[in-house]
Subunit: 357 residues, 2 copies
Amino acid sequence: MRYNVAVIPGDGIGPEVIEESLLVLKKIGEIYNHEFNFQEVLAGGIAIDKTGEPLPKETIELCKSSDAVLLGAVGGPKWDGLSGEKRPEKALLGLRSALGLYANIRPAVLHRALKEASPLRSDIVGEGIDICVVRELIGGIYFGERGRSVKGKMGEAAYDTEAYSVGEVERIAKTAFQIARKRSKKVTNIDKANVLESSRLWRSVVEKVAKDYPDVVLEHMYVDNAAMQLIRNPQQFDVIVTTNMFGDILSDEASMITGSIGMLPSASLGEGSMGMYEPIHGSAPDIAGRNMANPIATILSSAMMLRLSLNLEEEAKTIEDAVTRVLEKDYRTSDIMNSGMKPVGTKEMGKLIVTEL
Amino acid sequence: MRYNVAVIPGDGIGPEVIEESLLVLKKIGEIYNHEFNFQEVLAGGIAIDKTGEPLPKETIELCKSSDAVLLGAVGGPKWDGLSGEKRPEKALLGLRSALGLYANIRPAVLHRALKEASPLRSDIVGEGIDICVVRELIGGIYFGERGRSVKGKMGEAAYDTEAYSVGEVERIAKTAFQIARKRSKKVTNIDKANVLESSRLWRSVVEKVAKDYPDVVLEHMYVDNAAMQLIRNPQQFDVIVTTNMFGDILSDEASMITGSIGMLPSASLGEGSMGMYEPIHGSAPDIAGRNMANPIATILSSAMMLRLSLNLEEEAKTIEDAVTRVLEKDYRTSDIMNSGMKPVGTKEMGKLIVTEL
Ligand SMILES: CC(C)[C@H](C(=O)O)[C@@H](O)C(=O)O
Ligand SMILES: CC(C)[C@H](C(=O)O)[C@@H](O)C(=O)O
């Protein structure tokens, strides 16, 4: 088979981690006899530098006509001074919205080989952490009406609107329940229904959708409590479903308790099979170009891409198993280094994984 | 001197922890020759049961005419089914707003005697945790316009508005910088300025206020990153200033990393000296009436009240030192129990502290 994959290396360590992922995918292509047609496109800071815009039209067009999008990372201090519409982040937000990617799937998994990496006490980590955060990605306060008004409560004011409609909540809730069915069959809905009207609508729709999944347990939790429970007892969570804004905060918190941000992939999905795949870490400009970045998060993102957008389950598993074996052989990039382990750089880690495939 | 203190025992464990705090305050009154005039008023679930409303007018009036308000806890599953305006939480939100309490001060401190209580690894906890979260309390999405509309993006919709005006940000920023001056002279402003217009206004006002405090270092951090950094390296924080919604989430997260929710007090302040003081923990209905609750958070809240509203620094210190000594003598309520320690109930803990005064 021939697959069209749009590739966005982006900024900072983006190009480096993408390079290793493409080597892994090429090897998978050889082994399983697939042809991947990688087409590199510009987005983020590099796109601003080269075209004046964070998300050129051609990038959107090419992504739309591809089977999947693989993204490294965008942004960096170089472009921090720019205003709203001109920032590198706009590339991410614009792509999510243009491609209709309403479901952001972020597994927060603590690899058995990396148990000591968690900042939590070992008795809390227990047998490990395995949470899947399902974050709504193209609604809520990220995309609501915003602006300024000269006469606010106390002088000039600025506002943003958190809004959710029934259909938007329905589809993300379905995604969460479907994922939970393939896991431990528990969904924790996180909102602020004791204060926000949008949360009350959100919660009632989640409850309605839950009726179609009687085999899945549904719990509700307020966002402030969730921020505590993730630290106190992460074991209680299986699938978390939440809004764009709360998901931004809680998925990062969930990632951090695994202690291995450089390991975690993500998928952003819409109605069809097309999706965008990226590591959850940022562009890390401080270590860019120094062969120091951990390419595993991006390599695992490409495995998610094979599974979810290209329907290549066996190939995805092959990549994930190779990563596990390399970790079990004690190879570590500096972000997950620990005494007694063997330090390697970005390129070596990529090569080791390719060899294990 | 004679001080008028409005007392709101509230629901669940509220009345129990308030009782011990009043005993402590009475003893302080005897020692230092002050007269505390405690006036109990209704708010929360108990007010709903007795008057049909979570926040009766008389409660607001009495609080307004007092020197300070001491509150136990409100809410519980019994009243969870009620709709927006009729919920116990409305008492809290209504009081904050009616009394103009725009600054919520939440110290997240890990007591030396309770180091093992933190869910974080001991190498991360290091010499302890000492963060002061300054949360804006009567603005933002908590009090913005909200409602429903029949025709949203995909069916019926609900919305809430996050809005901040210059004056609202100025006053909370000043509070944060003033507190930082008395501590380690560092303020971390937390927002989502890469996405939200209200955050961009917020950040620019904080930067303007910072100019009047050249001796205090100001840093900015996005809320998602902050949720991670609190776990990865809590030592980096001194004073955190943030919005109502982000502060709700982050102050709870900051409390949890100390592992001693039952120990942490809070103050809510406005323009004058009047303030409302309450433990950060909830009403814990599951352990209510069982002499199990930890009264320390409320006792330390009353110490904050003496210091901040009644200007009784020495008296406040006397209470705090008494708490420290009782902990150093290894007395523990069940929430902070550890092997080798001496288990005590709510009443015993209160008595021990009174004796140490
Ligand atoms: C860069 C930023 C706009 C983005 C977000 O807030 O969604 C990022 O934090 C993420 O979670 O992918
Ligand atoms: C009970 C609730 C409305 C309240 C809030 O969100 O402010 C509580 O969580 C708090 O932090 O005091």
